[in-house]
């Protein structure tokens, strides 16, 4: 257990407010909470990659960052038109 893994575990607690807003908020507020949780997930993946000392794990954070951007745009387009 090192400081990176401890930081990633602590960062996971920041997702609790996002979960609460996803449960209780309006549709667009849920989208904001989802975006924040995606950002937090990317940070957790970065910290875990450094904590486990595996260089290849950084690719996961990079892919997650790109995919969260694309998924956010698709989702917000869907919310704008149909839902």
């Amino acid at each position: 257990m090192n400081v990176w893994l401890i930081a990633s575990a602590l960062l996971l607690f920041c997702m609790l407010p996002c979960g609460w807003v996803c449960l209780r908020g309006s549709v667009m507020e849920r989208f904001a909470a989802l975006q924040l949780s995606q950002v937090l997930t990317i940070l957790v993946l970065l910290l875990l990659a450094e904590g486990y000392r595996r260089a290849i794990y950084f690719d996961l954070a990079l892919v997650m960052a790109v995919l969260s951007f694309a998924s956010g745009l698709v989702y917000v387009r869907f919310l704008e038109r149909w839902l």
Partner: protein, 121 residues
């Protein structure tokens, strides 16, 4: 990757600051009322916290493949966050506009017809 896992004081401070920023933003998302107010709290973790974590990784590992990957993640976040925020705010505005137009159309349909000119005599 560097062989030793010991983190310096600077790295620990940067990580603590990143955690503080993320915690503050998560609480802001929870406490603030309204979508536009909540939307402001997406930026600090995406830009500041990611920059702090990337800097901590660079301090720990030095300039190498790992630091470049962390920098790429930061670059993607810095570019994507304003675009997503703008798109979300625009979507919310269009949704409100559509809802308002629908309400006006419904109230115009349900409103009773105005009485015509009454005959005198």
């Amino acid at each position: 990757m560097s062989p030793d896992g010991a983190a310096s004081t600077a790295v620990i401070s940067l990580l603590a600051l990143a955690l503080l920023v993320c915690g503050f933003s998560a609480l802001g998302l929870l406490v603030m009322k309204g979508f536009y107010n909540k939307l402001h709290y997406l930026a600090p973790p995406a830009v500041v916290a990611t920059a702090l974590v990337a800097l901590a990784i660079v301090l720990q590992e030095g300039m190498g493949a790992v630091a470049i990957k962390a920098g790429l993640v930061l670059l993607v976040m810095v570019i994507s966050n304003p675009i997503l925020t703008f798109a979300a705010a625009r979507a919310n505005y269009l949704r409100e506009l559509q809802a308002r137009e629908k309400t006006e159309r419904t109230s115009a349909t349900l409103a009773p017809e105005s009485p015509g000119p009454q005959e005198e005599g």
